[in-house]
Amino acid sequence: MSKAQALAQAQAAITISANFDTPIAQVSNRVLELDPRDADTCWQTIQGPDPSLPSGDGDRIGVMLDKSQWGGKTFDEVMAAQTEILPEGDFSQEDLGRFQLERGAVTNFDNGVLEITNGEANFALLRAYEVEAGIVGAEMFYVVIEAEDSDSGTQAVINLISFADVTWLPISAGFTGAGVYAFLGRVRTDNPPSHVDILLGVFTDTPGDSVRIKSVSIKTIPGNHAYQETVADRPLRTLSGGRWSIQMDGVNEYLRVTYVADIDIGGNDWQAFSAFKNDNAAFETMLGWGSNTSADNWRLFCASGFYPAVYTEADVGNNRQFTGTGLSGEISVPMVMGWEQDAGTHLKGYINGFSQTLGTLTLPTGSTRDLTIGADLGTYFFVGHIYGVVLFNNGLMSDADALGVQKQLAIWSDVRPL
């Protein structure tokens, strides 16, 4: 018994624990939290054409949901608490409400189930108009449709449409039985919509095919979500040594977060923390925005020789490196780094829990660039694994908070002291 106690104490002495520090969830003003361990937040696609698929080991990441606004709750708990944008969608009043049948026929509508059937045009179309006004361009939607193909053989299909009948969200699902179909949808920013329409249809060539719809739910997903629209540029979600990571190839893979004021690092006090394993000592970007030639370029990166640094095009030649000796011996070693800035006048860097004040650096202000993770929108792609990214809008963080955040990220990534 005593030996077990001695062993437990010896093991505790080399086990990083966040039990007695401020965990990430308790630090205020958190605006981005990407956690590749959480399967609920990692999806292969941003939207259709199939029901959104979770990103498993080796799958690409099209969307990584930001948990910073979730209050420590699971995705299901968060979505259950979100406001229903389409309250008529439960059909409990057996009233179409904002829905309107544009093609086909309502063949049954009782017990809260709506059945629509192909007509002479070989498809039935149910449309809900103007589900929400004033939609923010970067918002992610979560759409859940409970439906049943009411005949055998042919497929019923669900489609969604947005942008007031202008641009389709290519989300569709073909199904032959009963089921609950969940979709992530992201409103495009190049043509911000005034509202979203939803189309549900039985898109088959067989007259008489029908579908029973029990409910349609649409809710926004809170957070500043990271995504990659281009399939070939999507990083992988990988599991290695018991640790989930966003794996980036250093060629073209990265994630981006659409600009919102909260993540305007140039215009805010901020703290950024990341757990990662860098597999290359060249110039690489952990977080950044702009391209390397634009005046508002800014990035947190590793200079050649693996000197973690803050760089801004507005202050060329004045990288703020925060190791005096470089970390070339730490290539492919998991570590936690952090950076924070207080109104552009104080800059501080962290590595594995110890900090270094970096002086001042002229930072771009008021940029409306998207935040990028693993690139700076052009070059300096990161090669390696990212185990977590957290961003806060605070002044300089207390030492206890900064240590707590780093310890938690260290636990995610099995970081050891350098």
């Binding site: 106690q5 062993l7 080399i14 990083i16």
Partner: protein, 389 residues
């Protein structure tokens, strides 16, 4: 009062309700040591100077205190319970134990408002505290916490108190503590560690290194044993350093000249449980060595990293050791039944010999009585115990 409810309990009492880890590992106060660098109130930069805490990466570690008999208490609390070695350190018995019949006596030496009041006309003063009849007995290698409180009464010049611990009554100074001159009338509250190299009776000598008129009080003199077999390094240049990252804490030796040791008697069979990381590999370097003999050893050997136990014979061996990796290590030093394992893995057995180490040397070997074969390594935790865990 309801049965079992004692509202007079204090925080100190509370420590006794649940046996501390130290009490569980050393229920009978067995010989050995328990070092936990995460308890920062057990690490100080020197064992013969002001009580300077270790707090930042790179701070020197002059003493790492053995907490195996501390009942889980912090340093402050265990010291409150230690016996006072100074007679009349609070001056409640007047001038008993204090003697002004020394060279350069002060103009005034009296008890005033419960303090030892000293006025001097400008020449040097020397007040031997603790006369021959009330000397303090100290033991070589043990560490003592000394506290002295001074008050400048403000009517004289800057007060530069000097407190010396002398080898005999008015004898050679073993340790001298002095502060810069201060005209401040705020209290000077000194706490410092004293680790004698000679077992003897010692005395305090208070002087004031000043040629101006001074008027000050001595409010308290205290000396208490800090219980335990502490790891010590009296020489600044040879002190290991403290490191901390991500809430882990360790003591690190540079593999060149940094080490510590603790002298105590321990007989086979004995065991050691530790967590450590070897930072670089040099065949022959000792993670642990003996103090009085070449025993109690764990040393690096071979070109393929492996570690050997040695109490007179090199066995058993830990093969395929990993450099740069945190690990736990369990050892049993019991001659023909010796054993060792890493991370609670397979147990290697062998005959290590019958040597007794006379304590524990960290990051260095016995090397014929002078430290050598320094190891570049970290220590996160170590418990060494006579008998078995």
């Amino acid at each position: 009062m309801a049965p079992g409810l004692d509202i007079s309990m204090t925080v100190d009492d509370f420590y006794y309700i649940k046996p501390s880890l130290a009490e569980q590992l050393f229920p009978s106060g067995e010989a050995g040591l328990l070092i936990d660098p995460s308890q920062l109130d057990t690490l100080y930069q020197s064992c013969n100077a002001f009580l300077t805490p270790v707090s930042a990466n790179g701070d020197s570690v002059g003493i790492a205190m053995d907490i195996r008999t501390w009942f889980g208490m912090p340093f402050v609390n265990i010291m409150q319970q230690q016996a006072e070695l100074v007679t009349n350190g609070d001056f409640e018995d007047g001038l008993t134990g204090y003697d002004s019949s020394v060279s350069n006596p002060p103009d005034t030496l009296e008890i005033e408002d419960g303090d030892l009041h000293i006025v001097n006309d400008g020449s040097a003063i020397a007040i031997s505290g603790q006369d021959a009849a009330s000397a303090m007995s100290v033991v070589a290698g043990q560490t003592y916490l000394v506290r002295a409180r001074f008050q400048n009464n403000g009517t004289g010049g800057a007060v530069t108190p000097l407190l010396a611990i002398s080898s005999s009554y008015q004898g050679a100074y073993r340790l001298t503590i002095i502060s810069s001159g201060s005209s401040s009338t705020s209290e000077l509250d000194w706490e410092f560690l004293f680790t004698p190299t000679v077992t003897e009776d010692v005395h305090f000598t208070i002087t004031c290194a000043s040629s101006v008129v001074v008027d000050f009080d001595v409010r308290e003199l205290s000396m208490k044993l800090v219980p335990g077999n502490h790891l010590l390094q009296p020489t600044n240049a040879n002190r290991p350093t403290y490191g901390t990252q991500l809430g882990l804490h360790w003591i690190e030796g540079n593999g060149v000249d940094q080490w510590m040791d603790s002298t105590f008697t321990i007989a086979q069979p004995w065991e050691r449980m530790s967590s450590l990381r070897v930072l670089s590999w040099t065949s022959g370097d000792h993670v642990y060595g003996g103090v009085a003999a070449n025993a109690g050893v764990i040393y690096q050997t071979g070109t393929t990293p492996s570690m050997l136990m040695y109490d007179g014979n090199p066995a058993p061996a830990l093969l395929d050791e990993l450099v740069g990796v945190d690990q736990t290590m369990w050892e049993k030093h019991d001659n023909t039944s010796s054993a060792v394992s890493v991370d609670d893995g397979s147990i290697q057995t062998g005959t290590s010999g019958t040597g007794v180490p006379g304590g524990m040397r960290l990051f260095a070997g016995y090397n014929g009585g002078v430290a050598g074969f320094w190891s570049n390594a970290r220590l996160y935790f170590v418990a060494m115990k006579e008998g078995a865990f």
